[in-house]
Symmetry: C2
Subunit: 368 residues, 2 copies
């Protein structure tokens, strides 16, 4: 918290999941937070949670926010930001919408003073929304993008970076165009791909879905996301998403062509090249702690009692082995599950030996 | 184990991951297992692991297998099955290849006696192959498909079902056509979809992949699968996979069209309908224990020390709450992680209260 922050309050517009969570985190840090929302009920609820105080109706007299954070749905973000820029001619205004170029474009079209606007995007939040799900530690350790643009007066933008650091997030600077292209790649297209795979299952037999394993579950997990929100997000980031989808369509076309003529020259090569590109692509995703290293994985059989997984993890801890990742697998109808435990490769053999000596069944082991 | 089983040995052809695992499981049950493989080294290794005894070179005299299980790569499965049917004119022969119609078709084309052949497919195994990864409990609780066909003499097929039950798996009967269509839906197309999403990442910036979250990780996890194996699988199940991909392509085309003209009439409706179909599709995947129920999910912040997750799970166990699922989340560069704990909705509020009272930070809670 800086001295400058003490001199002025932060105004949050929109007391939903993100706005309330930011208010909670800043209030914990001693920042004076005022909350505003079209819904007086939402403001009262957020105030009750301790996310700040209600904005005065006669705001000109009492509230002189140095920084305003707009946390409203994507489709009303630009108009809300423009209103705040006008109402508070000395304040710096930011927003947290998940698409940034369309907001900036709308603001410029409206003639707003974008020298006082810098959009941001916290890579946090949950599928479950509303102030009732808000938590002050929602942003701890998460990337939070500052989406820069040519019109901003950067000497003032430090206040936004301070806010990001105050709530425990990791500030990452990129241009609005780079931001939108990046989230199209790592968030919006993956959402559509999961959705389109899941949509196939509407026509599947019960016998087929009964064979579903962990692979299908993982691929389709995010397909349960809220359609209304995603229509707004995808429409606002339409061009970057469409560009990546055109590349995807080329791959789908190639795969169909190869599979319709699997014995034609080059058909198997087409599939092999595609699988190879998938191997190369997934290897680019940073692992835990941003590392790119591979871990050894042990699959340990556990029965379905409350204490068994805890006992396994306790024993792994007693052996002094740090677990890098953990994944549970279940099979329909089975009374047992499998815990997939990732450790550094150097620890694998000893862990297998020690766990087996303690009576655990190791269903598989190896390095990815 | 039946009396009939005691009277005859099971012969396993192919001492890789699946063959060795089946051998281990049957040997534990007291079944007499003989192992054969083109590689004498593989047989010796599997025998050393305790998966059975080496098949006699002079097999006619010593080995009279009642049941033969062919566990070789998909592209040599049919020719191997045919050879076994000829060499052992009284034996029932099965295989474990992940595609069934092409094997049967090849056998019929070769004039093999398919009245003694019944293909199966254990929905188990791991990305990591070879006898060294073999485990006797690999099949416990997993579905194992018996892929029936008109030519089989079913009065003999009980021996295969006994084998499936002996290794702890759950037998599921379906026709070869239904099997292949089912695995195209729940395994082969999801593999291609994950691969094609991951292939996009080869062209992503470092900044973009640095924003990758759990959603992208889940969608692309299986994209690291072995290209060589998947070329065989996809080529062998080309028609059912291509049929589903054509439906997927229609969705990709619709999405591109809608996103290229996001303000055209119906564009947003197209995206909303697609998202809705994804919601409906993912809801069809059975949950743990084959149930379709929803769970409440708590996201608990944990730091990166070996004992902390174990302590959390121990305390959840002490509270008498059964954890239905567990997922770990990490953010690049952060010293903390998040444990997403799924419980029955009735237990959620008490668990939140009790865990917070014990000092845990709950980052989010709610029902999917």
């Amino acid at each position: 918290m800086t001295d400058r922050r003490l001199q002025s309050s932060v105004r949050i517009v929109g007391a939903g999941l993100l706005g309330t969570s930011i208010g909670l985190a800043l209030t914990e840090k001693g920042v004076d937070v005022t909350l505003d929302d079209l819904s007086p009920t939402a403001v009262k609820l957020a105030v009750d949670y301790g996310a700040g105080r209600a904005a005065s109706a006669n705001r000109g007299e009492h509230d002189q926010p140095g920084l305003i954070v707009v946390c409203v749905p994507p489709d009303v973000t630009a108009v809300t930001v423009a209103g705040e820029l006008t109402a508070h001619p000395d304040a710096l205004v930011t927003d947290v919408a998940s698409v940034k170029q369309s907001v900036l474009r709308e603001l410029i079209a409206m003639g707003a003073d974008v020298s006082r606007y810098l959009g941001t995007h916290p890579m946090a939040g949950r599928e479950r929304g509303g102030p009732i799900s808000a938590r002050s530690d929602m942003f701890v350790g998460r990337p939070w993008v500052l989406a820069g643009h040519d019109g901003i007066t950067y000497s003032r933008a430090g206040a936004i970076e301070d806010l990001i650091l105050d709530v425990g997030a990791v500030p990452i600077e990129m241009s609005v165009a780079d931001h939108d292209a990046s989230v199209a790649m790592v968030s919006h297209v993956p959402q559509l791909v999961a959705t389109m795979m899941a949509a196939r299952l509407t026509g599947a037999t019960n016998g087929a879905v009964g064979l579903a394993g962990q692979g299908l579950r993982d691929v389709t997990r995010i397909a349960s996301s809220d359609p209304g929100l995603w229509v707004q997000i995808l429409a606002a980031n339409a061009a970057p998403v469409a560009e990546i989808l055109r590349g995807l369509r080329d791959d789908v076309d190639s795969a169909i062509e190869a599979l319709e003529h699997p014995d034609a020259p080059g058909a198997r090569r087409t599939i092999a090249d595609l699988m190879g590109a998938g191997n190369a692509g997934v290897a680019r995703i940073p692992g835990k702690h941003g590392q790119d290293r591979r871990y050894a994985t042990l699959v340990v059989m556990i029965d379905d009692t409350p204490g068994q997984l805890a006992r396994l993890l306790t024993e792994i801890g007693e052996l002094g082995v740090n677990m890098e990742d953990l994944r549970l697998e279940h099979s329909p109808g089975a009374p047992v599950g499998f815990a997939e435990v990732s450790v550094v490769p150097e620890a694998e053999q000893r862990l297998v030996t020690e766990l087996e000596a303690r009576g655990w069944k190791i269903a598989a082991a190896g390095t990815d």
